[in-house]
Amino acid sequence: MTNINSKTKSLINKHGTEKSALIPLLQDVQTEYEYVPKKAIDIIAKELSIFPVEIYGVLTFYSQFKLNKPGKHTIRVCQGTACHVMGGKVLLDNISSKLGISDGETTEDGLFSIERVACLGTCGIAPVIEIDGKFYGKVQLNEVDDILNQYRGTDEK
């Protein structure tokens, strides 16, 4: 694991210590670690001269930010209107019960996490799920196993 201390500091150098740099900075930290580690928050608070609680305020306000490490593959299930009408809620429930986790949780083996998304903006191919940036459109319930298995195949336990 890379040193959170030096990595965070180099990102602060990139964005500066203005308060308006906070969100882009946190986004970059999350891109690096897939979540925002506590250590990074402490460093940012110090460097930007703000209280950690302010950073937590921002982190918990925006749904994009995660405070815990997500699974290896993140399954984002769209819950937009079109997806809802086309069965998006049922799809989410189905994937949840298959993996035994609900929104925001990670499977015990660390392979999958589920994230419900308000809308992915791809309503034409509803219902939609997105795994690691790849979109699956018009997903039927009986296709779910096949899709998930693609990510299980070569992975170690």
Binding site: K19, I23, T81, N94, G121, C123
Partner: protein, 582 residues
């Protein structure tokens, strides 16, 4: 001129393997040594979701739809080598109809140019409007935009020219222009498509707006859920700078304009202007009371104008063609065209651009092609996302303009249009939107934070079969209170889905409460999950749809649902065309 092969590589295209299709064209052409004869252009979304759309422009234009990567070899062999159309994937009548009844101004370049190549944009008259603007006075441009009657396309419907005028009037060394690309309405995707397919058009609108109001710095606040849009905007900004359209002293005019992209972090309320400003400043996106309006005191306390993506994409056309030309389209009060995102239970899902004043019916049965499943009955059309409402069949002759739509209790919104058929429960939809607004409420003011939550609980009781008549009275009393006492647009409009469904679909509320019945068969607590033998046609469609083998069926026999295996997912209800499962 070189022949062209256009491949639609938008988000939807990519999900169907569009990049592989483009790659295969290159490989196949190389094989037959014809790569030099064709230019392969990766365009943005064309607007119709027909998986991968490929247009071959040689002596004429041929369109292939639903092209899979493996089809490319055959298309090249047939179309290019043997000079014969490849009939299997040829665009059908439905495809032609989709485009026939549209008037594409904002979407003109979508699916036509490569959004990552500024030369393609320049070839289509790109940045001519900037050149013209920089030679004109600020007053002239402001007058043109005002006279055109262009109203904000993000949902507000405020006159763009008047808005610009507020900021222009104010003397200040620093002013900001923000493009609101935080398209948060679930069910809306026009801004995403415009940004992905024609990013320069938005930049051009921003440069012109910046010049007019006297701002030399702009932000594009884009949803983080749209990574492709952000990527293409970054490329466009870089190319515009290299070509002298952005940066210092643009085209030697003395006017400088710089741009920065800010990625949103997933908060619907940040579509609201003051919340969006807070987010750029690095705070939680919470709305502030107005006045002061952002045009007077906005980002970093400086005068700030915020315009929506589609609004800005219209600007260059107004400057190029004149305000009279623009004002001649649409209706007197709502000029120009509007882009709609058609989705839901409709045959053609995609982006449609029509003149204002077109009726909802013309839209659904023209470009939309009618309902997806012709056996099902049309029930409602949802306009304006979580702030909008559901309109019944009796209102589908309503013309789409700001005033007429507002009269119905829905709103124009940003242009999301979801079609619903008999299988959609109106109370479930109201509950869906309330769920959304409850989750997205920033929590600042009580009516929105607490009131919406209480209303959601009531809707949950109704869909669970525990509803009472008092619940209806409660909803009717609470809705106007929340509308009147909330601070920002989110709370002020959040009760609309409830109010419109109560108004237009009272019978469904009544059935849920008094008969414990959901006619659309959506609310699972009110369902029995059994097959009605008399109605079953023994077709087996439910059997095929069932993901857990709970449905037992053999050819010629009535289907049966094994309760031990059933997970109550309702896939069989959706599959049955004969209303045979209760």
């Amino acid at each position: 001129m070189k022949n062209k092969i256009l491949v639609c590589v938008g988000t939807s295209g990519l999900s169907a393997g569009a990049d592989k299709v483009a790659e295969n064209f290159e490989t196949e052409l190389k094989k037959i040594n014809r790569l030099n004869d064709y230019k392969i252009v990766k365009t943005g979304d064309k607007g119709l979701f027909a998986d991968v759309i490929v247009e071959i422009i040689d002596s004429k234009k041929t369109t292939y739809i639903n092209v899979k990567p493996k089809d490319v070899e055959k298309i090249v062999e047939s179309h290019i080598v043997n000079n014969e159309l490849y009939k299997r994937r040829l665009a059908n009548e439905n495809y032609t109809n989709f485009f026939k009844n549209q008037e594409r101004i904002v979407l003109k370049n979508c699916g036509v140019i490569d959004p990552e190549q500024i030369d393609d944009y320049l070839e289509q008259g790109g940045y001519e409007a900037v050149k013209k603007t920089l030679k004109s006075s600020q007053e002239y441009i402001l007058k043109e935009v005002t006279d055109s009657g262009l109203k904000g396309r993000g949902g507000g419907g405020f006159l763009t020219g008047i808005k610009w005028g507020f900021a222009k009037k104010i003397e200040n060394d620093t002013k900001y222009l923000i493009c609101n690309a935080d398209e948060g309405d679930p069910g809306a995707f026009m801004d995403r498509s415009i940004l992905e397919s024609d990013p320069h058009a938005v930049l051009e609108g921003m440069i012109i707006a910046g010049y007019t109001i006297g701002a030399s710095f702009g932000y594009i606040y884009c949803r983080a859920e749209y990574p492709l849009a952000i990527k293409r905007l970054n490329i466009a900004i870089k190319q515009a700078k290299e070509n002298g359209f952005l940066g210092e002293n643009i085209l030697n005019s003395g006017f400088s304009f710089n741009l920065k992209i800010k990625a949103g972090a997933g908060a619907f309320v940040c579509g609201e202007e003051t919340a969006l400003i807070g987010s750029i400043e690095g705070r939680r996106g919470r709305p502030k009371p107005r006045p002061p309006f952002p045009a007077v005191k906005g980002l970093f306390e400086k005068p700030t104008i915020i315009n929506n993506v589609e609004t800005l994409a219209n600007i260059r056309h107004i400057i190029n063609n004149g305000s009279k030309w623009f004002a001649s389209k649409g209706t007197k009060d709502s000029t120009g065209t509007k882009v709609f995102a058609l989705a839901g239970k409709i045959k053609n899902t995609g982006l449609v651009e029509v003149p204002m004043g077109t009726t909802i019916k013309e839209l659904i049965y023209g470009p939309g092609g009618g309902l997806k499943n012709k056996r099902k009955k049309f029930k409602a059309v949802q306009l304006g996302g979580p702030s909008g409402g559901c309109l019944p069949e009796s209102l589908i002759d309503t013309p789409i303009d700001f005033a007429s739509i507002n009269k119905t209790g829905a709103i124009m919104g940003s242009g999301g249009m979801i079609i619903m058929d008999q299988d959609t429960c109106m109370i479930d939809i109201a509950k869906y939107f309330l769920n959304f607004t409850v989750a997205e409420s920033c929590g600042k003011c009580v009516p929105c934070r607490v009131g919406l939550k209480r209303m959601l609980e009531v809707l949950e009781a109704i869909t669970d079969g525990k509803g009472t008549q008092e619940h209806i009275e409660f909803l009717k009393e609470m809705s106007p209170t929340i509308k009147e006492t909330s601070l920002c647009g989110l709370g002020q409009t959040a009760p609309n889905p409830i109010l419109t469904t109560l108004k237009y679909f009272p019978e469904e509320y009544d059935e849920h409460i008094n008969q414990k019945k959901c006619r659309a068969k959506v609310c699972e607590k009110l369902l029995e999950f059994t097959v009605i033998p008399d109605k079953c046609t023994k077709c087996g469609l439910c059997f095929k749809a069932c993901p857990t083998d709970a449905l037992e069926w053999k050819k010629g026999e009535v289907a049966y649902i094994n309760k031990d295996k059933c997970i109550e997912c309702k896939a069989c209800y959706g599959a049955c065309n004969f209303d045979a499962i209760k």
